[in-house]
């Protein structure tokens, strides 16, 4: 449904996005993840024609965004939930959006009811909480009954109930054949409902694959504790097994617990501890993006 080809954007000497290429399939939820400064927001802005790429293009079923006759009826985008005049009511905010897109005004009340804001539609947006603004922004994206939803950090400011509501909404949208492309740094939450992931770091694509494939790629590890670390490391080396060593702990990937137990037995090594570590998607992604993170904690 969405084809991103060689998307590149440079600001002065800094490359925000470099030759980004990936596809987003219809009927699925694709998460767009990466550390702060990875180029997610810049990419989303290029996908809706707000920012002009230095190279590359984005097409929706073969058509560039800026060539769409009624963009709002194809792509619904939420890039900033604060994008509304505080002095205007929710209803009038959407009326203005509907008017410029030539969407019937009757859609306004329909989408406001859809997002649960029908009782406050005549209240000024300035009095809305961040969660209400998120819902209003989503209502704006849904005005044209689009086939694609592009969302930048949509769960920011939502309480747990709101996050669940959003998750259910997006899942139902994808189930009806819609395309969802949602950027988030809440990897754990994304992993609960995303089908595919596009992972970026420092402006470049790190991986674009299904959630299952990415998780499987980062195999389980076996962790052993022993005072005979030198002997165990020698035994592992003899079997061409790479290991990470820290104090009395040795971690081996690509092997099973049973294999390690047998190895220790064969070399007369006493193990004080032996267990498997199954990485979460969050662990996998953090490992992938660690080198590309612009801001990290100590």
């Amino acid at each position: 449904m969405i084809t991103v080809s060689g998307l590149t954007k440079q600001y002065g000497s800094r490359t925000a996005v470099k030759e980004l290429t990936f596809d987003v399939a219809a009927g699925r939820i694709t998460g767009f993840v990466g550390p702060n400064g990875a180029g997610k927001s810049t990419t989303l802005r290029m996908m809706v024609g707000l920012t002009r790429p230095d190279d590359g293009e984005v097409r929706y079923a073969g058509v560039r965004y800026t060539d769409l006759r009624h963009p709002a009826c194809v792509v619904g985008a939420v890039l900033d939930p604060r994008s509304m005049h505080p002095g205007r009511t929710a209803r009038n905010h959407l009326r203005a959006m509907a008017a410029v897109s030539e969407i019937p005004a009757s859609r306004v009340e329909h989408v406001l009811a859809d997002v649960g804001l029908e009782t406050v539609m005549d209240q000024r947006a300035g009095g809305f909480s961040l969660g209400m603004r998120q819902r209003l922004a989503l209502a704006g994206a849904l005005l044209g009954d689009p086939q694609v939803l592009l969302l930048d950090e949509p769960s920011n400011g939502l309480d747990p109930d709101g996050i669940r509501w959003l998750r259910n909404h997006l899942t139902a949208f994808a189930a009806r054949g819609g395309t969802v492309f949602v950027s988030s740094h809440l990897i754990g939450e994304l992993s609960m409902f995303a089908d595919d992931l596009v992972v970026v770091g420092a402006g470049t694509l790190l991986v674009a694959d299904s959630v299952e494939a990415i998780t499987a790629r980062h195999s389980a590890a076996v962790v052993m504790e022993t005072t005979q670390t030198t002997e165990l490391l020698r035994a592992l080396a003899e079997h061409d097994l790479a290991a990470e060593h820290s104090d009395d702990r040795i971690t081996v990937r690509g092997a099973t617990k049973a294999q390690m137990a047998q190895l220790a037995l064969d070399h007369d090594i006493r193990l004080d501890g032996l267990h498997e570590q199954t990485p979460s998607l969050e662990d996998a992604l953090l490992e992938m993006t660690a080198a590309a993170a612009e801001f990290t904690t100590a």
Binding site: G49, L68, A96
Partner: protein
């Protein structure tokens, strides 16, 4: 009931869903409707209009009650407050763009309507309409205020012509405000810059400049569209004045230049 699916093509990639220039042109009325909704659904704009009317009526009334010139009539006095009205309308023009930048609604508009010139066209037409509205309201209440102040009405053949030139002045001032807002993108900066230029810089430096240059200063030219009889003096004097249509062309030229620069920057800059 017709749904979106019925009203619009839903299959992407067909000729009917690809934008053309003529379709952009046909989208201008829709963009105008959107700008109308934006303007009329904000309390601020209504307050500005009401304030303009109140101030105009007050100024005209005060001038009428304090004048010692018996020949001064309401049909001339109603022009006197209009330079201030033009500035208030220009400020509204500035805010038509800078408020959208400040509150983040400009990207929403540009995402929905990627052809940015459609948005500029709609805003320009609406700015002109705002100027006409401000001007019409101000002139009516100004005339009424002057009449209440006790001067003769003085309705004559020149009244309509005088009012039309004044409406043109205020409309062009509003459009200049819009253009300045598009260039500067910051409300306070644009407003203070415009006021500083029109009230201070031009008046300060113009007396030292030759007439050939002063003709082409924007507000010195624009001011000369206002005709309020022999007692109404422009802040900057010109010995050999040009014709009113020429001054209209000069003032209008500034509106066009501001809009062109603003539009160029709108296309050049990222839409946020």
């Amino acid at each position: 009931m017709t749904t979106i699916a019925d009203a619009l093509p839903t299959t992407i990639g067909t000729a009917s869903t690809t934008r053309t220039t003529s379709q952009d042109l046909r989208a201008v009325p829709a963009a105008l409707r959107s700008e109308w909704i934006k303007l009329t659904t904000l309390r601020t704009n209504k307050v500005m209009l009401a304030l303009t009317g109140a101030i105009t009526a007050l100024i005209a009334w005060a001038l009428a009650t304090s004048t010692k010139d018996p020949t001064l009539v309401a049909a001339e006095l109603f022009i006197y407050p209009l330079p201030l009205v033009a500035m208030l309308a220009a400020v509204t023009g500035i805010l038509m763009f800078t408020a959208e930048v400040q509150h983040g609604t400009l990207p929403v508009t540009l995402i929905t309507r990627p052809a940015r010139w459609v948005t500029v066209t709609a805003k320009t037409i609406m700015a002109g309409a705002v100027g006409l509205t401000f001007g019409a309201v101000a002139m009516v209440v100004g005339f009424g205020g002057a009449a209440l102040g006790g001067v003769e009405l003085g309705i004559g053949s020149g009244l309509v012509t005088r009012a039309l030139w004044a409406l043109l002045y205020i409309s062009l001032a509003t459009i200049i405000g819009l253009g300045v807002g598009m260039i500067v993108r910051h409300g306070a900066g644009a407003i203070s810059g415009l006021l500083l230029w029109s009230f201070v810089l031009e008046n300060l430096f113009a007396p030292a400049l030759p007439d050939g240059v002063v003709h082409f200063l924007p507000f010195s030219a624009g001011y000369r569209l206002l005709d309020a009889g022999p007692n109404f003096e422009a802040p900057v004097q010109i010995t050999n004045e040009l014709s009113r249509p020429l001054y209209a062309a000069i003032f209008g030229g500034y509106a066009v230049i501001c809009l062109l620069i603003g539009t160029f920057l709108l296309y050049r800059r990222d839409g946020d």
